[in-house]
């Protein structure tokens, strides 16, 4: 049976039904009927409510620290607003919410809580690390056995779960305080620099000295050790190559190394 796209009853019905799902003031779509042919806002509203509450639930599952910081009611209102503007575009909900931190950052009523967006970024990184590909961890021996002349040309390959974060606020501390993790070390310092990664089954958050952050980011951008060290040293401000490298290796954020020719 040939279907002309422009005369598709199916598509028109679906379009009208979809229109009102994220719009609480939309009328019941034409042709959508209740038990005795009535136009039932309550019945259509069941779908609308399922959509919004299930997506609010998905965001709450992905951002429990943000939910705890804002309280359940505020979180629900904020999430519903986000969902209306940025509904998911694919069905894997553990991947929904990548834009939530930016949305929080530009949400005027939250302007006086400027640390929230950074907490959301760390929470998103935590979730991404949790579901990221499994991969081996760089054997520290492999780095130790690189010859001194090759050492500056070493490129460290980040683990697929690893990401770096810098915040002017104590964002990582606030994140940790609002997640019920069995063990956690905290830090009062600010600004804060952390690396989030999952070397094996558990997601780790490891502190790095803010002064070493430039170096770490350069490594994550596939610069060589030599380039990264030069870049970091030229930035001044107490960078320590040994300390930086030790911290990153201890956090198991690399999966391998290459020697750039």
């Amino acid at each position: 049976m040939q279907q002309n796209k422009h005369s598709s009853v199916h598509l028109n019905v679906e379009h009208a039904f979809a229109e009102g799902l994220l719009n609480p003031s939309a009328a019941v779509p034409e042709g959508v009927l209740g038990r005795d042919g009535e136009v039932s806002a309550k019945r259509y509203g069941v779908y609308r409510n399922n959509v919004v509450s299930s997506l609010v639930g998905a965001l709450a599952a992905n951002f429990p620290a943000i939910q705890r910081l804002l309280g359940a009611d505020y979180f629900k209102a904020l999430a519903a607003e986000f969902i209306r503007h940025h509904p998911p575009v694919q069905p894997v909900l553990s991947e929904y919410g990548g834009g939530f931190a930016d949305f929080i950052q530009s949400f005027p009523p939250l302007a006086s809580y400027p640390y929230l967006a950074d907490v959301a970024r760390i929470e998103w990184a935590w979730l991404s690390a949790y579901h990221s590909a499994d991969a081996p961890i760089l054997d520290a021996q492999k780095l130790a056995s690189v010859s001194p002349e090759d050492m500056p040309r070493v490129v460290l390959v980040p683990h697929p779960s690893a990401s770096l974060h810098f915040s002017e606020f104590p964002a990582a501390s606030i994140f940790l305080q609002n997640r019920e993790f069995a063990q956690m070390e905290n830090s009062e310092q600010r600004p804060q620099a952390v690396v989030v990664c999952r070397p094996e089954v558990a997601v780790n958050i490891a502190w790095i000295e803010p002064a070493d952050f430039t170096f770490a980011s350069a490594l994550f951008e596939a610069r060589t050790l030599g380039e990264a060290a030069t870049l970091a040293a030229s930035g001044g401000g107490g960078f320590d190559l040994n300390r930086a490298l030790q911290a990153l290796l201890a956090a198991q954020v690399f999966q391998d190394l290459e020697i750039r020719k």
């Binding site: 019905v13 679906e14 009927l33 309550k42 299930s54 579901h131 499994d134 993790f181 558990a202």
Partner: protein, 316 residues
């Protein structure tokens, strides 16, 4: 500092299974046929109980979309459980009833999960959940017309050829009907099964919910249902409500025990069509493992009572 997800059991359990989990090369699974026994939907809250207690259970069913991440603990848990139990893979996001072409990327991810876990059963819904670009995360209804019938059959053909096997299509629970509909739901499903060669997943709770909501008899619906295509049965709990005209409105909430009238319909159905793999669906307000497995037990008793001489059905 080590951090585990809030809802997950202690990682020590997972570490015990790590040897055959995250970091190991997997042996391909042997496809284990899902027996005509009861099973339950697998929830993260119960990973721990299942791995520790190794309960007798016909099978576990998972939502495919929960295992589409690249790696991590969810896969490690599922791999450990899959070693010991038959698996049913249930997609909730493919939008087979949608007007537009299927999402090829999502279908490819579904195939990946399917090929990784080699489930004994594979099912999806007669519903839509995406209307480009949005994904609504709900099973939304469609009108039953010759046009929608042709499109659903087209979509099922595509799914079956990409995944490389027969799928089961589940009857929906609905709160509204469409003026545009030309066919009865049972007729629609019969025709889909005939044209596409797919099997059907009969959700008895959905039958009861829809029948109550639209004022028809669930028995008559089941009489008309093309039961010879049924490869699996679902049972779940619903929440009672009322619409603004005073009509019964049951919500397919999957948040409580299966209701007595649904158990009665189920027992009648098994008596009529024979034993089928039967799933207890409980997706929110997740109960303790003991409560959930008691529900499965109840379904198993009905299945066993149907078997000759009350013999328990072999697990494999």
């Amino acid at each position: 500092m080590t951090a585990a997800a809030g809802v997950l059991p202690p990682l020590v359990i997972l570490v015990c299974f790590e040897g055959m989990g995250v970091m190991s090369d997997r042996e391909p699974y042997e496809v284990i046929k899902v027996p005509s026994r009861s099973g339950v939907g697998l929830k993260a809250e119960h990973y721990h109980d299942i791995l520790e207690q190794k309960p007798s259970m016909g099978f576990f069913e998972v939502h495919a979309e929960n295992y589409m991440g690249a790696g991590g603990p969810p896969h490690a848990y599922l791999e450990a459980i899959r070693r010991d139990y038959p698996l049913s893979l249930h997609g909730v996001g493919l939008s087979i009833g949608g007007a537009r072409p299927l999402d090829k990327d999502h279908l490819a991810r579904l195939k990946q999960v399917h090929d990784r876990y080699q489930p004994g059963l594979f099912s999806e819904h007669l519903a839509w959940s995406s209307h480009q670009p949005a994904y609504f995360n709900d099973l939304l209804p469609l009108p039953y017309t010759s046009e929608t019938l042709a499109r659903v059959v087209e979509h099922i053909d595509e799914v079956q050829s990409v995944i490389g096997r027969q799928m089961l299509l589940e009857n929906p629970s609905t709160y509204v009907v469409f003026e545009q509909s030309e066919l009865e739901e049972t007729e629609f499903l019969r025709e889909i099964a005939k044209r596409s060669g797919c099997g059907l997943l009969l959700d008895v709770n959905n039958v009861f919910v829809s029948a109550s909501n639209h004022g028809y008899s669930p028995e008559e619906y089941l009489e008309a249902f093309p039961v010879s295509h049924v490869g699996e049965i679902h049972l779940g709990g619903h929440a009672p409500d009322e619409d603004e005209f005073g009509h019964t409105l049951l919500i397919d909430a999957h948040d409580r025990e299966v209701s007595d009238p649904v158990w009665a319909l189920y027992a009648k159905t098994i008596k009529r069509i024979g034993a089928r793999p039967t799933l207890i669906e409980w997706d929110s307000d997740i109960p303790t493992w003991a409560v959930l497995s008691a529900e499965a037990q109840r379904a198993d008793e009905i299945l066993r009572a149907h078997e000759n001489g009350g013999q328990p059905v072999a697990a494999e």
